[in-house]
């Protein structure tokens, strides 16, 4: 089945960009998302803020707190998503976040809202394959991709379980750690991506610790996608509601680097 995600990855290595929804305010997010698209981002990850972002480093933790401090609700996130979909009918949009806000009104409710808002996929940090019934069936029934994470600790024995029931793309977390801190050695990324692509029938994107166009270019040589988050979120932290300009600039440089591998 052709989806926005599959046709995007079919064009060659894609730049996947993450920002936290509602940071610095729900009203400011739309312009920042537009800057990502105009800068050349191929897939948009919209972070759902959570009080306890256990897998995130200081940059994204702070973004979560700024967003919640501005009063961002789940309804705001879906409003932002639906408005984005109306402005950008072709750009894949993925929600990323933690389990509790996703399941709190029931997984069917959440999956239904995703479908209504034109969300293509969901990345949930703290629902591993072992707990798939919590969210996976509802998303699949609603036609929304469940995008799972693979990590340096995902060995060959686990990989089939991770791939089973996931779609859209596989998100390879290149470091055992939290977002925004260390950077993985390129050789370890090369090896891991080769191992994953050998088994995966969906595209493999690499993220965590990717900040610069140089890193992005190197990863794009081997992977189907490069995910950049904290570096962009840092710009939102620094420039607040005026972040669209600087965010667009960094995105342009990253997109050029990633697309040069096409």
């Amino acid at each position: 089945m052709t989806t926005r995600l599959s046709s995007t990855f079919a064009n060659g290595p894609a730049l996947v960009t993450f920002i936290t929804g509602g940071d610095p305010t729900p009203d400011a997010t739309g312009a920042i998302l537009d800057a990502l698209v105009e800068g050349g981002a191929d897939v948009i990850e919209l972070g759902m803020p959570f009080t306890d972002p256990m897998a995130d480093g200081p940059a994204i933790q702070a973004a979560n707190l700024r967003s919640l401090g501005a009063g961002t609700t789940t309804a705001d996130i879906f409003r932002i998503a639906a408005a984005f979909r109306a402005r950008h009918p072709e750009v894949p949009l993925v929600l990323m976040g933690y389990a509790n806000p996703m399941i709190t009104r029931g997984p069917e409710w959440f999956a239904g809202e995703c479908a209504k808002a034109g969300v293509d996929g969901v990345i949930c940090v703290d629902i591993p394959p072992e707990e798939d019934p919590e969210l996976g069936p509802a998303l699949r029934a609603a036609g929304v991709s469940l995008i799972r994470l693979a990590t340096p600790t995902t060995d060959a024995a686990r990989l089939p379980a991770v791939l089973e029931g996931s779609s859209g793309f596989l998100y390879y977390v290149s470091v055992a750690g939290i977002t925004g801190l260390q950077q993985a050695a390129q050789t370890s990324i090369d090896e891991a991506v080769a191992r994953l692509k050998d088994k995966a029938t969906i595209p493999v994107a690499v993220g965590f610790g990717v900040r610069t166009p140089e890193q992005a270019a190197a990863i794009a040589k081997v992977a189907d996608g490069v995910v950049v988050g904290s570096a962009l979120v840092d710009l939102v932290g620094k420039h607040g509601a005026a972040a669209a300009g600087p965010v667009g600039e960094l995105t342009r440089a990253l997109a050029q680097a990633v697309h040069s591998a096409r």
Binding site: T51, D52, M54, A99, E130, G177, Q182
Partner: protein, 412 residues
């Protein structure tokens, strides 16, 4: 006593997926999943290994000071009976886990977990702590076994529990203040999980309560069950019968499940878990069963204090050890099955009970078991005279004298 068929037992949880009914589970990042599975396998092997149990028992006896006494509290019993109708006013007994080395039940669990860490070849220990009791117990076992120890503690708690911070440092641990969020126990646990994800290869996370991803709720319960096993045998040998009501305070629920679990299949034994009602259930509190609903946090599904969007709400309790917006998943399940009753008491009620125990029995309790004592104070007068109420005196109050003084308006 008739044996209950295993199919109807309350003591065979969790299932093979780590679920207690709809609760529990393993809601962790993929990075941690292989480690959690390895821990489950290793714990399974340890349970079947007589030398593991022998070493655990030996350390509990000679290092921790077990068995802890079972104590009948005559003057508290008498005091509470004063307000009772004729013929009423239950006997109050205590399981004296405050006499353990380091002053609380926390050490039982730390001994078990550090033995597991060593079996797994881990060389570095991390822990979260609220009141500092679990941090002190972890620092203690790390010193005993010569392993480096990092304790994550909310900056707010670092300030209000200074003596325990110093104790941990004396024991050689590094204390890392956590400034995120409200800078209390929940944030310390987030930070410990972040450290763990980044150091899975060499680090063992000693979780301090019967919560977190499977198999933690199960193994913490098993290690703490020494409390209930001893109490059951002691009560039978002292009185020839079982207690009628067990009472325990609940933060994450480890001292409570440790007391309750060995009695769960004794139908005559009722149980009461006591949550912290803080300023009152209609205000700020830490009673997740009374004021929360099911959700997912810190690796397990359980009752959580949260808003409509599933954002976690900060707890409040005078007791730093109860100041947590969740509860162990087995308690969530025991509540839903109706096997255990749960209630809550306020800061003020706990402070009153704290002073009552000091004056009637010459025992200064920690503020956590002061909550259990406050519940006993309410329930004992409503029960017949020959009824036996057994409360878990799970910690001593040395750590709390500064904050109690402050609440009583005394400058030290």
């Amino acid at each position: 006593m008739t044996a209950i068929p295993t199919a109807n037992s309350y003591r065979n949880q969790p299932d093979e997926r780590g679920h207690f009914g709809q609760f529990g589970g393993r809601y962790v990042a993929e990075t941690l999943m292989p480690l959690i599975l390895e821990l489950e396998r290793e714990y399974g092997k340890a349970k079947a290994d007589p030398s593991f149990k022998a070493e655990f028992d030996d350390l509990l006896e000679h290092y921790v000071g077990r068995p802890s006494p079972l104590y009948f509290a005559p003057r508290l019993t008498e005091e509470l009976a004063k307000s009772a109708q004729p013929g009423m006013g239950a006997q109050v007994w205590f399981k004296r886990d405050e006499l353990n080395h380091t002053g609380a039940h926390k050490i039982n669990n730390c001994i078990g977990q550090i033995l597991l860490a060593i079996r797994m070849g881990k060389t570095r220990i991390i822990a979260e702590t609220g009141a500092g009791q679990h941090g002190v117990a972890t620092a203690t076992v790390c010193a005993r076994f010569g392993l480096p120890c990092t304790v994550f503690m909310g900056a707010t708690d670092v300030a209000r529990q200074a003596p325990n911070v110093f104790r941990m440092k004396l024991l050689g641990a590094e204390v890392r203040p956590v400034t995120a969020g409200a800078a209390t126990l929940k944030d310390a646990m987030n930070e410990a999980l972040r450290d763990w994800v980044a150091n899975v290869h060499d680090t063992f996370y000693i979780i301090g309560t019967a919560a977190g991803p499977h198999p933690y709720p199960e193994l913490v319960r098993d290690f703490q069950s020494v409390i209930g096993k001893e109490a059951r045998a002691q009560m039978l040998s002292r009185t020839g019968r079982l207690p009628d009501l067990l009472v325990a305070a609940i933060g994450g629920g480890s001292n409570a499940i440790g007391l309750f679990h060995p009695f769960l299949d004794d139908p005559s034994v009722k149980m009461l878990g006591v949550e912290a009602a803080g300023h009152g259930l209609d205000k700020e509190h830490a009673a997740s069963l009374a004021g929360g609903r099911p959700g997912i946090l810190h690796g397990n599904k359980t009752y959580l204090l949260q808003d409509d969007d599933g954002q976690i709400v900060e707890g409040h309790s005078i007791s730093a050890g109860l100041d947590y917006p969740g509860i162990g998943p087995e308690h969530a399940w025991l509540k839903e099955t109706g096997r255990v009753d749960y209630t809550s008491v306020t800061d003020t009620e706990a402070l009153d009970a704290f002073q009552l125990l000091c004056r009637t029995e010459g025992i200064i309790p920690a503020l956590e078991p002061a909550h259990a004592i406050a519940a006993v104070k309410k329930v004992a007068p409503t029960l017949p005279k020959d009824t036996i109420v057994l409360a878990n005196l799970c910690g001593r109050g040395d750590k709390d004298i500064f904050s109690v003084a402050e609440h009583l308006g005394v400058t030290l």
